[in-house]
Point group: C2
Chain length 318, copies 2
DNA sequence: CGGCCGTTTGAGCCACATCAACCGGGGTGG
DNA sequence: CCACCCCGGTTGATGTGGCTCAAACGGCCG
């Protein structure tokens, strides 16, 4: 399934034929565009193959960029640092130290499992690109999504102290993440108090978001819950730099939305229609557009301050 | 209202007449017992006065013990240290340093506000004794309790990095808490990495509990939710040393239970009756007894491992 | 073409909310 | 000392938001 994210050697033979290794990211992207071009005039199996090839080429290009940038300061962790330093300063020296011990970035496909429930935690995992979700499965098979992650979030800052993952985390989109082994982290913590603070901060931010979800789950009904979640994801994507305006990729299916909001998939559907009908949002094919932001905020009783994006919010205090 | 908790000088004149200052905690407790004795043979206003006096005497005795012990290592923070060190070691030197900068302990009455929503956070607050709850109030006046604290918990480890309290925290029982000013904490964090880790750990533990609540709110129905909450409180009280067996003071009203579990007070009542009827628990006059622990655990799908009490749980690994 | 997954729509039902009334205890005022 | 009230708990009647079951539709993939 997800073998080609591991390393260049693991790529499907189809790609190898193009001698991907010797090409620059820009070239790869150009090739991908070509493939798509060709695909548009084809049908059936050939079209599918071309599109798949284009997708893989794009993916490889993205990987190349990450790998290339790895030699410079801390490109991969940029999102993480941006988030942390929007609230507290992390000196360049700290950043470099954190990066030194990181393992090679991992590329995961959509749906791929990043962390398995019950598995022992051996490293801190930071999501550098894409989105992910943490899900808890009950005995009867029902599920509850307890967290959604965007670029810059740590996936397991809240599990790490317990040395065990309490729920499974899988990718909602193609994702890139970086692992920092516990051994390395331990030595870092003693020498770099700012890093310990950053982890504390991250866990605290996670907790703030969870409290907001609890309020929704406990006291709001479907419309407000859904609206609030959309507002939150929108803001977090903007804060992390993954999205610039109020239209963005929204990779959750209605079933997953239901598992997030404590609703059944059918009711999510009906509730979405309500929001659409009120002209608040548009959503189709994983693409979400907020049509009436203030209306949506009001319906959700949404106040983005809890996301701590002080740098972005109106009030620039602190 | 809550003036007499501040200092000895702030006590009501009634108590001053007894020259409380010169008496030992044991004497004070004896006096309190005498008052109660006398009260039992009285009625009306006199009885009430005597009981109130007894209560204040007991309270003062308790305060005395805390104040007296303050000179020794870290008695007040014992619960906090116990919790932290059940998972990681905190050297005595760290403990002493943490204590050095603490302000005098604050004694709060039942119901008293410890932290106010929106207020700026100026210190880390640790609950040394008693219970407390964090509540979020919605625009329409409905409330959701987003956290319950027992002795040893930090009240605002998850708000501190944001410099602002996101919800109000008030005492569920008479409580004692200790504040460590941010100024002091900041210097500590650079010199004592273990303290930074402890804070991280505490925020992570908080997050683990919240995830559990989210699963309950989203996917369990009333009985399981209620049962789970009871199991959790029971375990946390035991881990913190506040309770030894499966019978303990349970200070939440049914309204508060509803605000915790996302239910209406009436439904909480009916659900309690169900649990009582199945012989799982007893509850009256703020006193809760677990009659059938395994049955309750099963109904709640409760697995105490998420509370991280590795020292107490069956599996003593790590 | 057929199967699968996500979405959509309809019909009936249930868990829980809401409204309302009553009870018991402790505190308060006359 | 009593009347009153407020609050927390209890119980019943009725309404409803959201679940469940079921079926149809469309896009994507084999």
């Amino acid at each position: 399934m997800g073998a080609f994210g591991e390393s260049v050697a693991g790529l499907p033979s189809m790609l190898r034929k193009l001698s991907v290794q010797n090409r620059s990211p820009a070239e790869l992207r150009r090739l991908a565009a070509e493939r798509r071009e060709q695909a548009s005039s084809q049908t059936g199996k050939i079209k599918r193959l071309l599109l798949e090839e284009a997708r893989l080429l794009d993916f490889q290009a993205e990987s190349r960029i990450w790998i290339a940038e790895r030699r410079s300061v801390s490109y991969e962790l940029a999102a993480f640092f941006a988030k942390v330093s929007s609230r507290m300063e992390l000196a360049p020296a700290d950043e470099r130290s954190l990066l030194t011990g990181a393992m090679p970035p991992r590329h995961a496909q959509k749906g791929e499992l990043l962390i398995e429930q019950e598995e022992e935690t051996s490293s801190l995992v930071i999501l550098c690109s894409g989105m992910a979700r943490a899900v808890r499965t009950l005995l009867d098979g029902r599920q509850q999504i307890v967290a959604v992650f965007v670029a810059g979030d740590t996936l397991n800052a809240t599990d790490l102290p317990f040395r065990q993952a309490r729920n499974s985390i899988s990718a909602l989109t193609p994702a890139i993440c970086l692992s920092i082994p516990l051994r390395h982290l331990d030595t870092l913590l003693t020498g770099h108090p700012a890093i310990a603070r950053a982890l504390w901060l991250d866990a605290a931010a996670q907790s703030a978001i969870q409290q907001e979800w609890m309020v929704g789950l406990g006291r709001h009904q479907a419309q407000a819950r859904l609206a609030h979640f959309i507002c939150e994801v929108s803001c977090r994507l903007q804060f992390s730099g993954s999205s610039a305006d109020d239209s963005f990729e929204f990779p959750l299916t209605q079933r997953e939305l239901g598992d997030t909001l404590g609703l059944s998939p059918v009711h999510v559907n009906r509730t979405l229609q309500l929001l659409r009908g009120q002209g608040l949002i548009e959503l189709s094919h994983q693409k979400l557009t907020i049509r009436n932001k203030s209306g949506l905020y009001e319906l959700a009783e949404f106040d983005p301050r809890y996301l701590g994006g002080s740098r972005f919010a109106d009030r620039g205090a602190t």
